[in-house]
Amino acid sequence: MEKVTTNLGLSKSASWGSVAAILIQKWYRFTMARLEMRRRYSLSIFQSIEYADEQDQLILVSSQAKLELWWKTANQNGLVSQIFTSPSAPQVVDEGLCLKEFEKKIDVPDSYYGPRLSFPLTAEDANALLHAFRNEQLLHARYVLQLLSETRRVLKEMPNITHLSTSYSKEITVCGDLHGNLDDLLLIFYKNGLPSEQNRYVFNGDFVDRGKNSMEILIILFAFLLIYPNDLHLNRGNHEDYIMNLRYGFTKEVSKKYKDHWKQILCLLRDVFSWLPLATIIDSKVLILHGGISDTTDLDFLNALERNKVRDRTDVGIILFSLKNSAYIHERKKETQDLHILDILWSDPRSQNGCTPNKCRGGGCYFGPDVTAKLFARYNLKMLIRSHEFKPEGYEISHDGKVITIFSASNYYEEGSNRGAYIKLNPELTPRFVQYQVSKFTRRKNLVGTIESAALKSLREKIYAHRSELTSAFAQYDTNGTGRISVNDWAEAMESVLQLELPWRMLRPQLVQMNPDGEVDFMSCFYDLKMGQPTKEAQPALAETLCRYRKDLEIIFNIIDKDHSGLISFEEFSQTWRLFTSHLGIEVEDDSIDKLVLSIDYNKDGHIDFNEFLEAFHVVHRLEKKANS
């Protein structure tokens, strides 16, 4: 920031004028500082909840003993084979199916005005796709399936690690996480040009989930991959994974957009994802992969393993998490393919030396500058480009310039939350960063307000979902039963129950009321929240539990629902629920869940639409309800 020091002569009485000016400036800076603080902690709320969420996802097991009990009980009920055998692609979409088969089996009606692809694809097809998606059209399912099967065929030929050279093209562009933000991809193409022999791209994973155009992004990237297989390169990200997609929105997106063919599409996609390459190396000096590295990363091993054989994260994850507290993590063996890939896709750089398990994410590790240095020395590398972590400016440089994080999804959490960026690498391998943001805001104050209220909304939902635990934690500090405790005690209770490292004292005014004596009325944080559907049959504790574990239950139900019908039988539901609660150590009356289900079983035919059931436990903000009614 440059100080503007031009001295324009003031005609007014200079002395009082400058004093007044200073006063105004002081106030202004004070206000801006508070705004900046609010913006920062809003972003840190989003990030903490996001990481805690990802960790919670498979926290089905937390210790060796519990895992054994789980397996034993589940085995007895015959549920293990159901839960832990994921449907594999060949069952639904035959390996042998090729373009002609899809053409025969799936009809494209005359009424369809979207792009009609003809293989092999040309630049014209790509343009038609871009044009269609800008106008919010959908690509017909037949073309999607054809595109995916062709993509799989091409990807199978590629090695785990692609080697590129800058010798014959000007610059290579590297992009990070896109997460379904089509606008960002279109903006990148607009600013930087479409992929071609002269304009090469590397996309570093996490193309899908969260944003609402994951499918379109995949279609565009795969189309360009088929047209320019030597000039557009894709690395796998941790979200190119069946279980992540179940939780983070991609599966839902596909099922909504392709009502008749989504099962086929998802099955084929699983295969395609498993064939995505793992890393790219430029000029043997710049390593590009999605997450990071660990102290056991071995590039030769990585190149040789069978990447499509790696089990889905759920299987690996469950085993790993079960042994989280034991020494297993530290005994990671190089030969284990799954762990190797987990490290590549999930690790994060940190400034402290060493390599420690990444407890925030629940997978991969935190790697320090010494780990980077060792890897670089071993393979004669100069730079590591990775993504995987949100950055407010779209990029960040760490480990003394050796590690670059590139994140290309702007406005990731909320409108105006952050910029996206991409890297231009020239033949000298000096990186140049280009930043962008999809929409422009001039009134910064309103912007912070928007981000802040979205962040606080997420936080309040978490608070509601932990109501009973919080209430008892507060009660422990409130020895006189007055309903009030000190700010310090309140902050400690919040942090210990929610396990989120946030600036609680700063957030306090937004979350809870304080009386003139400076004490916190701790129950006031629950005043404005309530449950979605009236659930008279539910005990409060049960309802709260369902609220908190809604997402986990959704995943488990989806796994059990093998034919993707959206329904599971009453017995399956009951058994699962029993297993789940007993594992988590939650006390519920034996028939409480049955009563609850019956009261909500709208179909009343012995099957439960679990999405409908779970919807009932969605936290609603009272103020919002007023606005909508």
């Binding site: 920031m1 440059e2 100080k3 503007v4 020091t5 031009t6 001295n7 324009l8 003031l10 007014k12 200079a14 009082w16 004028g17 400058s18 004093v19 007044a20 000016a21 200073i22 006063l23 105004i24 400036q25 002081k26 106030w27 202004y28 800076r29 004070f30 206000t31 801006m32 500082a33 508070r34 900046e36 603080m37 920062r40 902690y41 840190s44 940190r350 400034s351 402290q352 760490s398 001039t442 009134r443 910064r444 104050k445 310090n488 490292e501 600036p503 609680w504 004292r505 700063m506 005014p509």
Partner: protein, 163 residues
């Protein structure tokens, strides 16, 4: 013995107050601590001090930084929490840099004669402790009515003052 008891009780209260203040400062510091390694960029210190409710002008921020022994000129300067904490704790204990009341602010605007024209606002930005280019654009964007080019300070003032 009585005195001893009184003093030790007072010490306890004072210690509790100091601990509370230190915790508050540490938490504010952490929001800006990108790498979770107890350091922040020196350029963010002004922001941190102000977010703790203090009201220093730029010269006073500089004075505090001098106490923490950091060179502002060096752009890669980092401030460590261990050095910042004692200085800031004293600031809060002594209740320095209290906010100026609203009516004084109003008076300040009024003294610059009624509503301000955009050019005058720019002039204002150049005197006192000059705004940076960014700060000036920001203020102009929010404060000045684009059609009349006038800053209606009575409308602007609540925006500055209210949270």
């Amino acid at each position: 013995m009585e005195f001893g008891a009184v003093f030790s009780h007072r010490d306890q209260t004072v210690n509790a107050v100091v601990a509370e203040i230190e915790k508050k400062i540490t938490k504010a510091f952490e929001v800006f601590d990108r790498e979770s390694n107890k350091t922040v960029d020196v350029r963010e210190i002004g922001c941190i001090i102000r977010s703790l409710g203090c009201f220093p002008n730029e010269a006073e921020v500089q004075e505090l930084l001098d106490q923490v022994n950091i060179e502002v000129e060096d752009p890669s300067g980092f401030v460590h929490l261990d050095k910042f904490l004692p200085v800031m704790t004293k600031v809060l204990l002594d209740e320095r840099f209290q906010p100026i009341p609203e009516d004084v602010l109003l008076h300040a605007f009024e003294s610059l004669k009624g509503y301000l024209l955009r050019q005058n606002v720019i002039l204002c930005c150049f005197s006192g402790e000059p705004f940076t280019q960014e700060e000036m654009e920001d203020m102009l964007n929010v404060a000045v009515d684009p059609e009349t080019n006038i800053l209606h300070y009575r409308d602007y003032l609540p925006k500055l003052v209210i949270d």
